[in-house]
Subunit: 408 residues, 2 copies
Amino acid sequence: MKIINGGICAPKGFLASAIEANIKYKNRTDMAMIFSKVPAISAGVYTTNLVKAAPVLWDRKITDSETVVNAIVINSGIANACTKDEGMEYCKQSAKKAADKLGVEEDSILLASTGVIGMQLPIDKICAGIESLSDSLEQGEKAANEAAKAIMTTDTVSKEVAIEFEISKKTVKMGAMCKGSGMIHPNMCTMLGFITTDVNISKELLLKALRDDVVDTFNMVSVDGDTSTNDSLIILANGLAENEKIVDENSEDYKVFKSNLNFVTTTLSKMIAGDGEGATALFEVVVEGAKTKETARTLAKSVVTSSLTKAAIFGHDANWGRILCALGYSGEKFDPDNMELYFESENGKILIYKDGVSVGFDEEKATKILSAKEVRALVKLNMGDFCATAWGCDLTFDYVKINADYRS
Amino acid sequence: MKIINGGICAPKGFLASAIEANIKYKNRTDMAMIFSKVPAISAGVYTTNLVKAAPVLWDRKITDSETVVNAIVINSGIANACTKDEGMEYCKQSAKKAADKLGVEEDSILLASTGVIGMQLPIDKICAGIESLSDSLEQGEKAANEAAKAIMTTDTVSKEVAIEFEISKKTVKMGAMCKGSGMIHPNMCTMLGFITTDVNISKELLLKALRDDVVDTFNMVSVDGDTSTNDSLIILANGLAENEKIVDENSEDYKVFKSNLNFVTTTLSKMIAGDGEGATALFEVVVEGAKTKETARTLAKSVVTSSLTKAAIFGHDANWGRILCALGYSGEKFDPDNMELYFESENGKILIYKDGVSVGFDEEKATKILSAKEVRALVKLNMGDFCATAWGCDLTFDYVKINADYRS
């Protein structure tokens, strides 16, 4: 496997475009389109929030069916959530517009929105935007970069990755882009994520791979504990790599596909966590030696979600008591008297807590370790063989600033 | 019922004291003692965190037994949590010291600590402190005020209340003090709370009253979503009011006692929420019309705990979408298309959302309502007859500041 350029346009047959539709933001792009030259199969995982945005309802119906997909239309600025019948009607109008322009079926168009909840989309601007997007579709790295920028809201950097790998001696490519950065929490964290690939795979296995993967990747990311109404992760596979179709979940080909998908989703998860609203550091929590996988996940997520721990990380303060505390209220059982806690970063590694008490560590060294851009807390439970990793960020003044008046 | 002065020293037979022991804070009191002239019965509810501080383990053994209680010794600055055998040994030494000085049994002394986790208590200072505390016990309002101040950590104001009411024509008094303000979350929120009363009641009903009450009061408070290792709420009843002993949970006397206890705990809960770390406003969330009490509680707590909602309250921003979102990810079922949402404060009341969409409210009026010191979100579910109230606060720059470097 190697990392390549080109984002979502890296795989064969995928084009993209981005334009300024003036939906809410001024002087920046705010709509993007992904298009596959040949119809693609799709799979999606969506927010578990009871309140689901209109485009989530629209997409789920399509990705859960056998219908092929030709394009995805995305807007930033307005979420089209809590918009009821009018919101659904705008989904239909948007899809119809794109379908007419691209010469495809209405139900082959997926939609995604991110931004303020409760506002109706300016449908005329959206339709005009779709027209421009359809006319300006392009292949290549630049088109992918522009699309990744257009879907940002409070993100400070655009997020994309692409790789190539071999399946049965054929070169397969996979590209992806996503946007974070607030309202991010386990159970679909990324507000919007899109993966394109030219692999040839059955619809059933594409969905299985995605579902099995997010449990350990996107769902292990937390920025602020809030699960959005719009979270969507969609993968399109158009088969243009011409590998022998993957149909057996026990095959080597499926394993290779899954491990490469995992690289892409892990990369995006860390990008989202590290660019959490106001974040100055990526905070990674690794729990090892748990009795079950689920225990490891729950404990890691509890620590990464703790506001007090996150504020301590911002202050480069080795306040390990807050980590013990967050492990303790997770609801999972473990033995605080038989575990170890380490802090780790590019600046070193330090044992902090063992056998029920602080080991009397060097505070200066700990602070130095916690001053890196990527900081890890490692918890060894010594109870079993399961481990899990969760990703988050520190809690900062800027998080509050960004969210005190987001709508204005 | 009427509100009176005197805090924990208001009920007959209760004395208090406070001193500077220099445990961690400088130039302020940091130890307090509550003493009952006659042995009192006790009840306690404690943190659900798996990691429990040494004094929690010490107290629970006593309040769960038939042993009477003579005094409570409290220190602020160091939590005596994650301190293992040494921490338990210091509990024993503290209790022995107090018992010797007061001429009572070692197991009639309750202990409470709040502050940094993982540090050992400076036991010599603690024992010297207990000596001074025992020598300076006093009755009256001033002693109670001083005790309430000594138990503060990052609290900005001390928190106490006292009331008197009648039970079977006898005057009964109840006093209380507590300290918040960080690491506050449902399932024992107050880090430390102490209630004194001269009522005559059976141990069984005292515990039942406390346990039934906290579900709707202390456990409905959230400042930051973190449940502390030290949370303790203890009530002492010494019987000096000489009312006929309350032994029947169906009696009028028990009902009167319970409703007065509820007034005291509700008052303290709101004080804790309103003085959450860095808070500029008390944020109250009322859920009405739920199918079950538990649903109402879960929904109210989900909103009051949402970082995004709390940041919006700080910004006086009527970002109701975040409230819908927080209701939606609570895990409870409701119909977003058949509910109403209002904002309310001393500055007025405004309908924001109804029948699945924003009602197109007056933003200026909404901002004015949200600019008050006490702000309420009222959710009407229209599904049943149950309601619940949760209390929290806004998320501010100061919260981050306080917690980025709490240990230094």
